[in-house]
């Protein structure tokens, strides 16, 4: 009785009332201001590794293509013309493909008002070749001459498609020479969010890992001005959170909606779900240094164990197709005639038996932060176990996975799962060369495979691609056929890009050549 009397006091009620009031006041609060019509709000997972346009080689491309411009923009396959002029208005090449002349746009200026001229182009390309993250794309570059203020002549040591290279998403931006000088003395010059671009937007604020605000560059050369002079971008690594932000109206558009949510968006009449080809390709590298994986028959047998349709369905959530080698569909030199492995487990068992393989255990590593890999790798394990091969799966962060694979190849993983995409839209120069060309020290050839015949095919094709693309394609196809037969890798699937677009807005279509980018100057309210 006494304890109840004590607790029945007014103070108890006061505590309860105060607590309720606190919650009540806050819950009754309404959001403050009305939507600022000039601001387009975006949620994305695109982190900024660097703001340096020369060093840039990662997901900051999402922002960079709004701040910087190359000489040309490459249009998606099937769109004519192949290129849209950016800072160059016309261009031509010599018959042998070794000399290229670009005429620059009159009136284009950098964000500090200084003119975009031939000297800036020369300085940018030379800096990119020398110190750029994607410097290798300038490998054929011999000399670059600023023959006049608005003309550059590029001489190459071998024929190369300079129009394609000059439209690369990495390493091809034209940068203000003053900025290049500033960064030479202060390597952190860019990191607070400064820029040296000429694009339709400039960085007005940046909070690392949190937000980026872009504002319109009023003196940009384009006649059509952006409908949204301010782009407010929240960096949100979690896809579900980004989704919640878009559906609750906190942002206008979220770019990183999980594939697992697409079904619900398809049912929502406020959004369009659009599927595009993407440059993303999933594959696995067999460790060809170690027995019995040094035997192509064993690798072929393991390739036959997989149920590719199931892997693509689970990994790509219905937005993926089985790959034909490491070149993704829609990217040169993709060849639809390249054969694919099909599931044939009985035959795979026989092949393993004929190769004398018993009690094989395979260690598979994948990037734990990649949710698609986390979904489909167990299927690879099950497939191997179905043919009597034990699989140990290890999900670790990609940089740990990669560091371990490069450190000690002979004792590294047996199968390395990776998501790969070309630096620019030539998967011959990149995917076929980077992933399987011999190298003295492993970098991206993590199957450690060495094949002189393959190397020659790819090297010859790279040199031919600037002058005779069709002939280069033939050599690349032979190389891809060799990859199929020798099976240094497991060719899993090509992932589609799936965009969820709020019907309220008109947003430029996804461009496979700029896979991480959004072009905000073209965003407007839908009619």
């Amino acid at each position: 009785m006494s304890i109840k009397t004590a607790f029945s006091s007014k103070r108890v009620r006061l505590i309860a009332v105060t607590s309720s009031a606190l919650l009540g006041i806050a819950s009754l609060t309404v959001p403050t201001a009305a939507h600022a019509a000039s601001v387009f709000k975006v949620a994305t997972s695109a982190a900024v590794t660097t703001w340096d346009p020369i060093q840039s080689f990662s997901t900051e491309a999402f922002y960079m293509t709004n701040i910087y411009e190359p000489l040309l923009w490459k249009n998606p396959d099937g769109v004519s013309p192949e290129y849209t002029p950016a800072l160059a208005t016309s261009w031509s090449s010599s018959k042998d493909g070794k000399t290229w002349t670009f005429k620059l746009r009159a009136g284009a200026t950098f964000h500090d008002g200084s003119p975009v001229n031939a000297a800036a182009v020369k300085a940018s390309f030379e800096a990119s070749k020398k110190i750029g993250g994607a410097g290798f794309i300038w490998d054929p570059l011999k000399t670059i001459d600023a023959t006049s203020d608005d003309t550059v002549v590029i001489s190459l040591s071998y024929a190369a498609p300079m129009d394609l290279i000059a439209s690369s998403t990495y390493g091809a931006y034209i940068v203000n020479p003053k900025t290049l000088t500033a960064v030479a003395t202060n390597s952190n010059y860019y990191e607070s969010g400064k820029d040296g671009g000429s694009g339709p937007y400039t960085i007005s604020s940046y909070k690392a890992g949190s937000s980026v605000v872009l504002t319109e560059y009023a003196k940009h050369w384009a006649t059509e001005k952006p409908a949204y002079p301010t782009i407010d971008i929240s960096i949100v690594s979690d896809g579900i959170t980004a989704q919640q932000m878009m559906t609750s109206g906190q942002v206008d558009w979220a770019t990183n909606i999980p594939l697992t949510s697409m079904t619900s968006f398809k049912r929502n009449n406020k959004y369009s779900v659009i599927k595009y080809k993407s440059p993303f390709n999933y594959l696995g590298y067999f460790n060809t240094l170690r027995a019995p994986l040094n035997n192509p028959v064993v690798r072929q047998a393991l390739s036959m164990a997989l149920n590719y349709r199931e892997i693509a369905a689970v990994g790509g959530q219905g937005y993926a197709t089985q790959a034909r080698g490491p070149v993704p569909v829609g990217i040169y030199p993709y060849d639809p005639a390249i054969p694919q492995y099909k599931m044939a487990r009985a035959k795979a068992k026989l092949m393993l038996s004929s190769a004398g393989v018993k009690n094989l255990t395979i260690k598979i590593t994948y990037a734990s932060e990649n949710s698609a890999e986390a979904r489909f790798v167990p299927l690879i394990k099950d497939a191997f176990e179905a043919i009597g091969v034990t699989a140990e799966v290890q999900g670790i962060l990609f940089n740990q996975q990669w560091a371990a694979a490069k450190k000690d190849p002979a004792n590294a993983q047996d199968l390395f799962i990776v998501k790969y995409w070309p630096t620019y839209s030539d998967a011959g120069v990149d995917n076929l060369w980077s992933l399987f060309h011999s190298s003295t020290k492993p970098f991206f050839n993590l199957s450690y495979w060495k094949n002189a015949a393959y190397d020659k095919l790819v090297d010859d094709a790279v040199e031919l691609s600037g002058s005779d693309k069709a002939a280069a394609q033939k050599l690349y196809s032979q190389a891809m056929l060799m990859l199929y037969k020798e099976a240094p890798g497991l060719y899993l699937y090509d992932e589609a890009q799936v965009s969820v677009i709020p019907k309220k807005f008109s947003i430029p279509k996804y461009n496979i050549n700029y896979p991480f980018s959004a072009f905000f100057a073209g965003v407007k309210l839908a009619q």
Binding site: V39, N399, Q400
Partner: protein, 337 residues
């Protein structure tokens, strides 16, 4: 005074041990800092050069002593991801996290003590069972799961609260907060920007409730148990025999004696909230130390991880020290033990 020094010196040892373990672990994990610094396609030459620049080519003990020396001088290194000084990154984010912890602890204390008292009052009845259930749920539900659940229900379905963020994005264009102390809600109050204050409180509710769940469960259970125990003590019976009022007995005698254990548990759970923010800030996209910690861990950003660990260790020690002081104030026998 002697005991004070003893506590301080043991705190220093804990800090050194925590920093050494974290430092060593961060160095032995196979990973490439160049990846975090330059990007996933960093070349081997870039990687090698960066190791020299960051001093990663030197023996671990040398690196550690250099690190300690620089840390004591206020140089906590540069984040590999953002390239900004770690101390500045922490200073920029800490106020947002502290505000979140403050509100979460406020919720936990107010609701925890109130519910504990209420449960004690209705001991063995339906109300007691419901509160017990809520407390157990609060303690046992993972913060990231509870966060998503609250977010889906109250932001997604009912749209009562915003799903994420500290303020509406429009606020920075229409009612920008003038930075005075760095604590956004506090700054909005002292500058009279009440639109921002209300907006901030509106955004605060869900993350603070999520973060407070664990502490709420602990505090309510502890409050109930302690009050029941104290109320059954002989001195309470004596007080009653002397005819003291129930209110006096409860607030002057019982609650005061039930408080120290509640205080201890409050201190400990406040320290727990520091790491609890890792999940909550990630779910609610809160621009604080928690989301910085998660991003740093994902990118194996050594300097940032070290900085956050050091900060968390300091936070734990300071909070426990304060709890000890308050405990001693309430019960002077503590210093004599």
């Amino acid at each position: 005074m002697k005991i004070l020094w003893k506590r301080l010196s043991s705190a220093l040892l804990v800090l050194l041990a925590a920093s050494f373990v974290t430092f060593t672990l961060a160095r032995v994990i196979p990973s490439d800092p160049a990846l975090a610094y330059i990007g996933p396609k960093a070349t081997e030459a870039d990687s090698a050069q960066l190791r020299i620049t960051l001093g990663l080519d030197q023996p671990i003990p040398v690196q550690y002593f250099k690190y300690i020396g620089q840390t004591l001088q206020g140089n906590w290194g540069y984040s590999l991801s953002s390239k900004q000084p770690v101390l500045q990154e922490i200073a920029d984010r800490l106020p947002s996290t502290l505000e979140l912890i403050f509100f979460a602890m406020g919720f936990a204390l107010i609701f925890g003590v109130a519910m504990g008292v209420y449960a004690a009052k209705y001991r063995g009845r339906l109300q007691d069972s419901v509160i017990r259930l809520l407390s157990i749920a609060g303690v046992s539900m993972p913060a990231f799961w509870l966060g998503l659940l609250l977010q889906m229900l109250f932001a997604g379905r009912l749209t009562w609260f915003p799903a994420t963020g500290q303020f509406d994005i429009e606020l920075k264009y229409d009612n920008p907060i003038t930075k005075i102390t760095g604590f956004p809600i506090f700054d909005s109050i002292i500058t009279g920007n009440f639109a921002a204050t209300m907006n901030g409180l509106h955004h605060m509710i869900l993350p603070a409730l999520t973060l407070s769940a664990y502490s709420f469960g602990l505090i309510s259970r502890m409050a109930r148990a302690n009050l029941l125990e104290v109320m059954s003590q002989d001195y309470i019976k004596v007080a009653r025999a002397y005819g003291l009022s129930e209110r006096l007995i409860f607030f002057k005698l019982a609650l005061r004696n039930a408080l120290p254990p509640i205080l201890t548990i409050t201190g400990l759970s406040t320290a727990y909230l520091i790491t609890g923010t890792f999940f909550v800030e990630q779910v609610y996209n809160w621009p604080g130390i928690g989301s910085f910690a998660v991003n740093s861990l994902i990118s194996i950003d050594y300097p940032a991880i070290m900085g956050i660990t050091l900060l968390a260790a300091i936070g734990y020690l300071v909070i426990n020290f304060i709890v000890d002081l308050i405990h001693a104030k309430l019960d002077p026998r503590v210093w004599m033990r």
